[in-house]
Amino acid sequence: MKLVPNAFFFLSSLCFAIGEIQLDMHDAPADYDENEPKSAYLMEFGTQWYMDEDIPDYAMLISLQGLANQSGPLLYFVYPDSWPWKITRPLKEFYEERHNFTFDKLFTPREALQALGSHAKGYVVWDKEVRTSLIVAFTVAGLEDAIVINEDQIPLAESVGLEMLADLRGDFRGMNDAEIYKIAMDRYWDQTSKDIVIWLGGYHNRRMEPGIADYGIYRGAFFTDLSANPKDVEELALHKEILEDMKPQSFVMGWHSYGKDTEGQHVTLTSSYGLRMEGLNSLPNISFNTQIPWTKDFEFKNNHNVEPDEELVAEEKVYLSLIQTDSMGIGAWTKPGRGRIPYAWQILGGHALKFQPASAQYYAESATPNDYFIAGLTGPSYMYPKPIPEEHFWPLMELNKLQMDVLDLRVMEIMDYSEGNRHVGNTDLPKEVVDRYYKAYPDVIGFINGYGAARTFDLRNGVPMISYDYYLGIHRPEDQALADLEELIALNAKRPYFLLIHVRESTNIDRVANIVERLGDEVEVVPLDVFLKLAASNKTYRTRYQEPGDPVDLNDF
C-alpha cells in the first residue's frame, strides 16, 4: 500500500498554493493523533558498513523498513554515533515523548524478518560479485515489494516463508555501470516513480551507506549512482535521460558517487533540469519520519531579534555573524557550546515539511535564544541558481517562499558551485541572477551568498545581499583561524565592517566561540538578522556581481 501525502492536519484549512504551486507535505494521515498510543520496532545499527562486513544484513533490513513502513511507521533504526546524521537517537526519544510511541527492540535480522517479513511479498537476490547489482536490487525491491538479499541469506528469507521474486546473480558480471544501468532502465524505468529518483552514491567500492534506500523503496523509485562527470560519456548520457524524464520540480534524493564525479558536477546537472536535490545517500529513516507530522500544539517560530521593517544603525566597529550550513542533521546541533554565541542555522524546507517534520520540530523546540533559522539552499532544496533555466526558477522560488512562510524564515541563502567551489573558480552571482532573487523575494530581510568566501554584494531597498567573507573549516587550527580573521579585519579597514562567517558542518560551537572571543573588544558577534539590518544601515561594502574576468572552473563541463 502506498500512502497518499496529506497536508498538515492543523494547517489544512490554510491555502498553501499559488496557482499550481503546492507545498510538498509529509505522508501522515489527516486524522493523525499524536496522543494515540503507537508501537513500532527499533533496531540499532553497528559500524560495519563495508560490503564484506555487515552490508548484506543492513541492506536487507533497510529494504524491509521501506516495505514495512508502507503500512505505517513501523520500523525505526538508530544509527551509530559515527553516522553522518546525528539525531536518530534523540529523534526516537522525541517520538516516545511527544508522539506516544513505544518501541520494541529487535536484535537480529531473523527477529526483524519474523516480526515484519509479512510486509514483503518475497525477495530479490543481488550478486555478491557485482556491487552495483545491490543498487539495482533496491529498485526491484520497491517495484516487487521484495527484500534485498544475497545468496547467503536465502535460507533466512525462506525460513520466514518468503519466495524468490527476482534473481540478479550473473546478470551483470563483466559489465561496467553504464551497461548495468542501461539494462536496469530498460527493465524498470517505465514502472518507477517520476516524482523521486534515488542517487545511491556517497562511498564507492567496498563501502556503502544506503540510509535513504528505505524511502526509495517506499516510493517505488529508481536507484542509481550514474556519473555526472563528462569523462564518463555513457553514464552521463543515461544520467541525463533519467533527469529529462522526471516531473518538473521533482526530487533527486541521495548523493553523487565519490568515486565518479563531484558534488559540483552532480548538482549543476540536476539544477539544469530544475530538479531538487535532497541529500544525502545516508539520510536515515525517511519512510518512518515522513509519516510523523508536527504535534498539534506546535507552530514553527523563529527567534527573530528584529522586526521586518525595523531599522538599526551600525556603530563604528566590526560586526561578525556566524552561519552553520550543510543541513542541521549533519551539523553541530548536538555538539558542545550551542547557545553560547549567536548562530544561524540553515534549515531545508523539504526536510522540515515533507521528509522529516519531527526533526524540524525537535530542532525548533530545542533551540536556544541564540539559535536563528534561515532558508536554503538556493531554492526549495539544494540547487545552484546559475544553471537553473529561468522557466524553472520562478515556480521553484514560489515553492520556496511557501516553505519559508510556514517555517517563519526571513533570510534566504544562495550557493553556486557550477563555476567553481571554495577552492578554485568562483561562487559568485551575475547581476541578472541577483536581479531575479530581489524580484522573487520582496519580503526577505537579506540574502546570503557563497559557501567559501565569495564577493557578491548588494543593497537594494534596505535588503542587503552579503557573501561570506570567511570559511571556517573543520580542521583549521585555532591560531590560524584567528590570524585569518585578524587579516580580514586589517584588510577591511573601514568601520563598520560586516564580517560574515560560514562554519563548516560538524565544527563545534565551543571552538568557534573560543576563536571569536580572542578578537578583542572591537568585534561584536551579533545574530544574523541584526547583522543584516546593521549592514543595511551603512553600506561600507561595495556592490559587486560576478564579472566576465572572474576565474571560472566549469567542473569539466
Partner: protein, 188 residues
C-alpha cells in the same frame, strides 16, 4: 688512510702539511661540495609539500612547485590541488632586474578569506640570491581586493634549499597577516 676513514687521516696529517699544500687541499675539498656557483640551480626541480612540517595548507591538500633556473631567470610553477580540482600559477622572475612585473590571475595564498588579487593584477617582485646562492629572496608588492576596498600588501619570501639539496623551505611574511607562513617541500 687510517682505519677510521679519510677525515681522521686528514686531521692527523694537518700538522705535517706545508701551508701551500694545506690551502690547496682545502680548495680541492670544498670544490667537491655543492656550494656557490651551482647552489641556486639546486632550487630547480619538482617539489611537493610535506604537510606535517608545513603551516596548514587547507583548503588545499597538496602544493607542488616546479622550478626552473636558467641563468638569471627563475620560473616557479605553483600548483594547488584538492580532490579533483587544481590551479597552477606561474611566476617568471629575472633576478638581474630591479623589478619584475608578474601577472597573477588568482591569489592563492589564503582561500578561506574574502581577498582576491586586485589593482592591475600584477605582482611587483624584487628577487635576489642570498646565502651564497642557497636562498632565493623575493620582495613582492601587490593589491588585494576585499569586500570594502583595495589594499596594498607586501610580502617577504625566502626559498631556502637544505645543504643536501633534498628539502626546500618557503618562508613568507605578509604585511596584512600576524603569523608567518612556512611551507616545507621535499624533492619529488
Amino acid at each position: 688512510m687510517t682505519p677510521d676513514g679519510c677525515w681522521s687521516g686528514f686531521v692527523a696529517n694537518i700538522d705535517n702539511m706545508k701551508p701551500f699544500y694545506f690551502s690547496l687541499s682545502l680548495v680541492l675539498l670544498l670544490g667537491g661540495l655543492p656550494l656557490t656557483v651551482s647552489a641556486n640551480e639546486q632550487l630547480a626541480g619538482s617539489w611537493v609539500t610535506d604537510a606535517e612540517l608545513s603551516t596548514p595548507l587547507d583548503p588545499f591538500r597538496r602544493v607542488e612547485l616546479d622550478i626552473q633556473v636558467e641563468g638569471k631567470i627563475v620560473t616557479i610553477e605553483e600548483t594547488f590541488t584538492t580532490g579533483r580540482r587544481n590551479h597552477t600559477e606561474t611566476y617568471r622572475i629575472d633576478t638581474s632586474k630591479e623589478l619584475n612585473r608578474v601577472p597573477v590571475s588568482w591569489w592563492s595564498a589564503n582561500r578561506h578569506i574574502g581577498a582576491y588579487i586586485g589593482g592591475d593584477q600584477v605582482m611587483k617582485i624584487q628577487a635576489d640570491w642570498i646565502d651564497e646562492g642557497q636562498t632565493l629572496r623575493l620582495k613582492s608588492d601587490f593589491v588585494l581586493e576585499t569586500s570594502q576596498s583595495e589594499t596594498p600588501v607586501r610580502t617577504y619570501t625566502e626559498y631556502r634549499i637544505s645543504r643536501d639539496g633534498s628539502r626546500l623551505t618557503k618562508l613568507e611574511l605578509r604585511s596584512s597577516r600576524n603569523l608567518p607562513i612556512v611551507h616545507v617541500f621535499n624533492r619529488k
